[in-house]
């Protein structure tokens, strides 16, 4: 399948533009974002999904998804909004439970990927020289091997289940962020304020964390929304290949189950998972766009 990698590189970021003072950047961004109604709606939707996922983790809702509540493949009705599945379980409850999996996959994968990307990217950009060459070589190698092979190998080694999904996707999605961060750090590290800080006498780490990283953080945020979506979508493919989440409903598993159901006219499981996924991905996409518009210094004040 086509990767989103290229699109993510958002090449406008890599071209030099004037630096902004951190505070005004974030402040300005928030003002702009809060003015955009669609973006705020997306943010709300995203927050709602997070809330649902959180409630589901704590067992407050949908903890009874395993229970048989009616006949096998009951059609959607007032009692069961999204109908019932093969074992007579509520598709609605499964969708909620699936939200938990999807959001956790999104969060964990995006976090892992962000951590690796920031560490490698900033070290490469900041220290340059041999370290830079080594890291560039490493991410060129990792990005050259098709992700699916890495994922497959990781799943074989660490067994199947949600942890493998976290690990496999987290370890394969960091390259783009790393590349972007590296380019940004290179641009920033010779700026006057960083130089000034160095003159006052700050260690390397201090310099890196205090002055350089805050200036590249908008890339991390934008990339986070992107990786979040990629992770949610990839979970479906992994489920299809039998490498996905085990023993609990996820959207991927539900869509995958639908391959046996649609031909018989049982469309609700496919529809429920697809729409659940659709709204959160749509929200993330719009949010990502809006964030980029408001955070990217270049597009600002157009």
């Amino acid at each position: 399948m086509k990767s989103t990698a290229v699109e993510a590189s958002n090449y406008s970021d890599t071209k030099g533009k004037k630096a902004q003072k951190p505070k005004s950047l974030w402040g300005h961004a928030w003002t702009q974002l809060s003015r955009d109604k669609v973006a705020m709606l997306s943010l709300t939707i995203f927050a709602l999904y997070t809330l649902v996922a959180f409630l589901s983790v704590t067992g407050l809702i949908a903890s009874d998804w395993k229970n048989e509540v009616g006949l096998s493949y009951g059609v959607p009705s007032r009692d069961h909004w999204f109908g019932l599945d093969i074992f007579g379980r509520s598709v609605f409850a499964k969708t909620i439970k699936g939200t938990e999996v999807a959001m956790s996959v999104g969060f964990v994968v995006a976090t892992i990927s962000a951590c690796i990307g920031i560490i490698f990217g900033s070290f490469a950009g900041f220290y340059g020289g041999k370290i830079d060459e080594l890291i560039v070589w490493f991410y060129t190698v990792v990005s050259s091997v098709p992700n699916i092979m890495l994922v497959m190998a990781i799943a074989l080694i660490s067994g199947k289940g949600i942890h493998s999904v976290y690990l496999a996707l987290g370890l394969t999605t960091w390259v783009n962020l790393c590349r972007l961060i590296r380019a940004e750090v290179i641009r920033h590290k010779d700026r006057e304020y960083v130089q000034a800080a160095a003159a006052i006498g700050g260690g390397d780490f201090r310099k890196l964390f205090k002055h350089v990283l805050p200036n590249v953080f908008h890339i991390v945020i934008i990339n986070f929304t992107l990786t979040f979506q990629i992770a949610i979508k990839s979970e479906v493919i992994l489920s299809y290949l039998g490498l996905g989440v085990q023993g609990r409903p996820s959207w991927g598993v539900m869509i995958n189950d639908a391959k046996l159901e649609l031909a018989r006219g049982y469309w609700w499981q496919l529809a429920a998972a697809t729409f659940a996924m659709f709204f959160v991905l749509l929200a993330l996409n719009i949010l990502g766009d809006a964030l980029r518009d408001s955070l990217d210094p270049k597009l600002k004040g157009k």
């Binding site: 046996l260 649609l262 031909a263």
Partner: protein, 592 residues
């Protein structure tokens, strides 16, 4: 943009109708759906069900199973008659059928297939044993034929295998006489000869193509592959073998087959002109293609049962109206949870084992996982084999009754674990598929009823095998399908010396049972042998080294235009007997 898309779709749609390859074919054509990729067509590698079925369309062996007789009965195929067995069951002498021709191929002089001779079987079996080729079917004759293991051992170390070296137990006495000498009596040897592994391969073909024989299936069978070359793709096309020897449709059948099955009696095989195997790995397209009539029959997957068979053993009315028929026949298999009998916990604790079996509700598992089509297992031997007794009920067979749970609790108490107290957490190992996990969780639930704690561990298949072989499992869920239709194939799963890394995964080792097995394994088919089989079966039912599951059933749905269709455990060879009612197909297709 949507309009551009739409127009192009319509235009493309119009064009496509002109691109159908030979859409006007009028003869009889079978379209078969294959569920998994077909690896290649070399008999010695055909160890999975799908490849061996394809191999058997082109290749044939000495023996085969009668198409319409149950329990399965061997009959000569390339042999002229059943062999003469002498020397206390150690020597088997076959007469080979005369005038059988190989398919035409450039490997033969003049491109014309030559006549089959006894030497071809000597060559083919040596090829199966060749240490350089590592055929997947070696286990079928491993240690059985005099001199063969030594031959394999010898050439394993040398760079080149010498096929001309004579082997004592595998010789062609003359052009049409073949003789096997076995190392010990092994009555199931005849079953082995009916497997696709032991098909006749011509030396010329093997010499010419070497390892690529995989893609040049040249046999003596009823069909030949189109263009003489197999290519791994999504379809395999076969044509009727015009030079096929005289082989006709059977004129007698077991009583479970209706008169309809004998309509083609005496007709020359194969009954169709063309055969196409469509490899469709995904369930949705396979089912949709069936509903459209593009393939003639399918086996619905576990989850597809629901739609096709709402009650478990009857088709839904809309499918019936389309002339679709349902065929059910038992598989020769058993699902079970093996207990590690090398652990003191299980070994010295028959009451614990009995309690576990009592607590396991087999009916519920049958309903959940096999759509109620399975047959609850009472012991190891499945129905359809001699040694299975229809009326036998295992008194410890749990079926979800309250008194059974009570009795299980009682037994557990007697075993020293009242309400499971004092028992460690018992691990249950299974593969990583969803089904396996669900079955594991079901087992967990059932055992929890009497206070036994189970933890389910999923493993990738190779890791599970490794763990079983290294005895690192407490219990594991697994199934066994028959290699050949003889109860011996099931009873050997509990024979002590077969302990892991052999097939005996539970490590059950009982001197009394072992002795009985050694005795029965060398007996020719006889009422005494059947009686002994039954005795052993009942002994295991009481010993309970496994938590028995079910014997699964094979379910097929077939379009009305297919005739002579039977469900069989030994699918290879079936396609020659199937036929198509062309008129009926035309009529029925309109209603799809």
């Amino acid at each position: 943009m949507p309009s551009v898309l739409l127009t192009s779709i319509v235009v493309l749609f119009a064009i496509t109708s002109c691109f159908k390859k030979d859409a006007d074919f009028q003869g009889k054509e079978l379209n078969i759906a294959v569920k998994a990729q077909v690896k290649g067509m070399d008999p010695i590698y055909s160890d999975d069900r799908y490849s061996s079925t394809e191999v058997a369309r082109v290749y044939e062996g000495l023996l085969e199973y009668h198409y319409l007789k149950r329990p399965y009965q061997l009959q000569p195929n390339l042999a002229e008659a059943m062999p003469e067995v002498t020397d206390n069951g150690l020597t088997y002498t076959f007469k080979i059928r005369k005038g059988v021709l190989f398919h035409d191929d450039a490997a033969f002089p003049g491109g014309k297939g030559r006549e089959l001779v006894a030497e071809d079987f000597v060559f083919s079996l040596k090829r199966l044993s060749d240490p350089k080729l590592l055929g997947n079917g070696w286990w079928t004759i491993d240690g059985k034929i005099k001199g063969l293991n030594e031959w394999r051992e010898k050439y394993n170390k040398l760079p080149q295998t010498d096929y001309t070296e004579e082997i004592e137990g595998l010789r062609a006495l003359d052009k049409y006489t073949l003789q096997f000498k076995l190392t010990k009596p092994f009555p199931q040897f005849l079953n082995v000869l009916a497997m696709p592994f032991a098909s006749a391969v011509a030396k010329e073909v093997a010499d010419k193509y070497g390892k690529e024989l995989l893609n040049h299936p040249i046999g003596t069978g009823p069909f030949k592959i189109k263009n003489g070359v197999f290519r791994q793709s999504n379809r395999i096309e076969y044509l009727k073998n015009e030079n096929y020897r005289k082989k006709t449709y059977p004129c007698e059948a077991s009583e479970e087959f209706s008169k309809e099955y004998l309509k083609d009696c005496g007709k020359q095989l194969p009954l169709v002109d063309r055969l196409t195997s469509h490899i469709i790995e995904e369930t949705q397209p396979r089912w949709l293609n069936f509903l459209k009539g593009k393939v003639d029959f399918v086996e619905p997957d576990k989850d597809n049962f629901e739609g096709a068979l709402p009650t478990g053993n009857e088709l839904s009315p809309d499918l019936k109206a389309k002339g679709i028929q349902l065929m059910i026949s038992p598989y020769l298999d058993i699902t079970y949870t093996a207990l590690n009998m090398e652990l003191d916990l299980f070994k010295n604790n028959k009451k614990l084992r009995q309690a576990m079996l009592l607590a396991y509700n087999v009916n519920e598992s049958n309903k959940l996982f096999y759509n109620n089509t399975g047959i609850p297992a009472q012991s190891v031997i499945p129905p359809g084999l001699k040694g299975y007794s229809k009326d036998f009920q295992n008194e410890y067979r749990g079926a979800g009754k309250a008194e059974q749970i009570a009795k299980a609790k009682e037994l557990l108490k007697e075993a020293g674990y009242p309400d499971g107290k004092g028992l460690p957490v018992i691990t249950y190992n299974c593969t990583s598929t969803t089904d396996a996990k669900q079955i594991g969780e079901f087992f967990q639930k059932q055992m929890a009823q009497i206070g036994i704690n189970i933890s389910v561990i999923q493993n990738p298949w190779p890791r599970l095998q490794e763990k079983i072989k290294n005895r690192q499992v407490m219990t594991h869920g697994i199934a066994w399908g028959a290699d050949y239709p003889d109860a011996e194939n099931f009873l050997q799963l509990l024979y002590g010396p077969n302990r892991a890394p052999g097939a005996n995964g539970s490590g059950y080792d009982n001197p009394v049972y072992n002795k009985m097995f050694e005795q029965v394994a060398v007996m020719q088919d006889s009422p005494e042998r059947t009686a002994l089989y039954e005795k052993m079966n009942k002994m295991i039912a009481e010993e309970i080294p496994w938590i028995f599951g079910v014997h699964r059933q094979n379910t097929g749905v077939v379009h009305g235009w297919v005739t002579n269709f039977v469900q069989t455990d030994f699918e290879p060879g079936r396609s020659a007997y199937l036929s198509i009612d062309v008129e009926k197909k035309k009529a029925l297709l309109k209603g799809l």
